[in-house]
């Protein structure tokens, strides 16, 4: 191999640091995107699973599940923000709720408040068919029920 065919020292250092950093963030499950813990689907699935779901409280008192497919595309992943909703601060929760309320109003629907329910489902096989039942439903928060808009839109 000719002498000129060498790997630059900087390249070696860079590669070792890069792989080292990926392993360090991965092993310690540090989530600083694009560094991540790579814990994809590492938890065992049970036959029950729960999550938070957002509903629109109409002026007549009726409650309607928010259909994200009826909202602008920018709202399509809003359910992600409902995951671990209980770990968010009060202000963060209000911002999410106000954003959802604005989205619903933008589609011409009346909103008195946004309600966040904890719902738990169970899935099972019955006669070779998949059956999914809701086994728990609990109202956890009512938000976006005042005149203050904390969605951040007015600030822009």
């Amino acid at each position: 191999m000719p002498d000129t065919d060498r790997v630059p020292a900087a390249a070696r250092v860079f590669v070792v640091l890069l792989i080292g950093a990926l392993l360090y963030f991965g092993w310690n499950a540090i989530e600083k995107w694009p560094f991540t813990g790579w814990r994809l689907y590492s938890e065992i699935k049970g036959d029950t699973a729960g999550s938070f779901f957002a509903y629109r409280l109409a002026p007549d008192g009726s409650v309607h599940a928010i259909d994200y497919q009826e909202l602008p595309d920018a709202y399509s992943r809003a359910p992600y923000l409902l995951e671990k909703f209980d770990r968010r601060t009060e202000e963060e929760r209000e911002r999410v709720c106000d954003s959802l309320a604005n989205g619903e109003r933008g589609e011409g629907r009346e909103v008195d408040a946004i309600q966040i329910y904890w719902e738990r489902y169970r899935v099972r096989l019955v006669d070779h068919e998949r059956v999914k039942d809701r086994i728990e439903r609990d109202l956890r928060w009512t938000c976006a029920d005042d005149d203050d808009d904390r969605s951040g839109e007015k600030a822009q």
Binding site: M1, D5, R6, V7, P8, A11, R12, F14, V15, L18, I19, L22, L23, G26, W27, A29, E31, K32, W33, P34, F35, T36, W38, R39, L40, Y41, S42, E43, I44, K45, G46, D47, A49, S51, D73, A74, Y75, S76, R77, A78, Y80, L81, E83, R95, V96, C97, D98, S99, N102, G103, Y121, V123, L125, H128, R130, R150, S151, G152, E153, A155
Partner: protein
């Protein structure tokens, strides 16, 4: 094997020689994948998200809200223009080196930005990450590789081999976390059966959701699938050492990720694309099939280097 030979062998795993033609093919295919992803993914639809629904990823934490559509479209156009420049201007011998390096870096940075936007919606987004990380060593690769040059050299080999190392670390880490969080129960419990039954907890049912239910109902198929997935992930770094098993891992990656797409509704197709780009020896494939010269070949006369073309199997050299 003596100590120095062993050290050299170890060094070769990450920094060993590869044909310049292979580097050219890997860079070109990464740019095609990045461009296709940039164009086909609905990034512009991210615009207009209320600030309350924006949780910026660390790498773009200086944003306080989702950038407007015009910015996102501009970045998409920059990525495509950079890729096109890499292919077209990069063929000019005079400009080849600087243009290729600059345009690849621009395309990578643009893609990182778009991927970060998708990862700024309250959930860690892994779909584009394997491409982001595996393509990073290529940003620093030499820009003067020629398609006609099949002589393996270290300066063209280290970006490919280190990219394979990065990809292997990622796959292995996903498998390790399954073991750390769940142990062998990840395989030997009803985990996979229930995953198939759940499909996607939110959103539409997977395309082959009914087949997923059928599989879930047929013990021990779900456990066999789970075992294959875990084995595939944990042992992925073997591709660094054993070139002959690479075709197996390319095929396994496609089966695994197409399976998760069709049965679970999880679109990780970028991952097997990345695996394929890095593990296939494209010059050998091209030579065997007698195709793929037009865009990658430089206009100058083909040199004698071609005579040293590596022999061997298509995907294992």
């Amino acid at each position: 094997m003596s100590g120095s030979k062993a050290l050299r062998r170890l060094d070769d795993l990450l920094f060993g020689p590869e044909a310049p033609a292979r580097l050219l093919a890997v860079q070109g295919l990464f740019l095609v994948l990045i461009s296709l992803r940039a164009i086909l993914s609905p990034y512009p639809k991210l615009a207009g998200a209320p600030a309350g629904l924006f949780k910026p990823a660390w790498v773009i934490s200086y944003f306080d809200h989702m950038p407007p559509r015009s910015v996102i479209v501009a970045v998409q156009l920059v990525i495509v223009a950079a890729a096109a420049s890499w292919f077209l201007i990069g063929r000019n011998p005079q400009w080849r080196g600087p243009i290729r390096r600059t345009t690849f870096a621009v395309a990578w940075l643009g893609f990182l930005f778009l991927a970060a936007l998708r990862g700024s919606r309250g959930k860690i987004f892994h779909i584009e990450l394997v491409l982001v990380w595996a393509a990073l060593p290529l940003v620093f690769a030499p820009g003067d590789a020629r398609w006609s040059d099949r002589t393996p050299k270290r300066r063209y080999g280290w970006p490919i081999r280190s990219a394979i190392g990065v990809m292997s670390a990622i796959y292995c880490m996903t498998g390790i976390w399954k073991l750390r969080n769940s142990g062998t129960d990840w395989v030997f419990s009803d985990n996979m059966k229930l995953s198939l039954l759940w499909g996607r907890v939110r959103g539409e049912r997977p395309p082959l959701g009914d087949l997923g239910v059928w599989l879930a109902d047929h013990h021990p198929l779900p456990r066999v699938f789970a075992a294959c997935i875990l084995l595939f992930e944990v042992t992925f770094p073997l591709v660094i050492v054993f070139r002959r098993i690479r075709p197996l891992y390319v095929a396994a990656a496609w089966m695994f990720h197409l399976g998760t797409l069709l049965l679970l509704g999880l679109d990780y197709v970028v991952w097997p694309c990345t695996v394929t780009i890095l593990l296939v020896n494209w010059p050998a494939v091209s030579d065997r099939l007698g195709v793929a010269k037009p865009l990658l070949a430089s206009p100058e006369p083909v040199g004698a280097a071609y005579a040293t073309q590596e022999a061997g199997t298509v995907m294992t050299t």
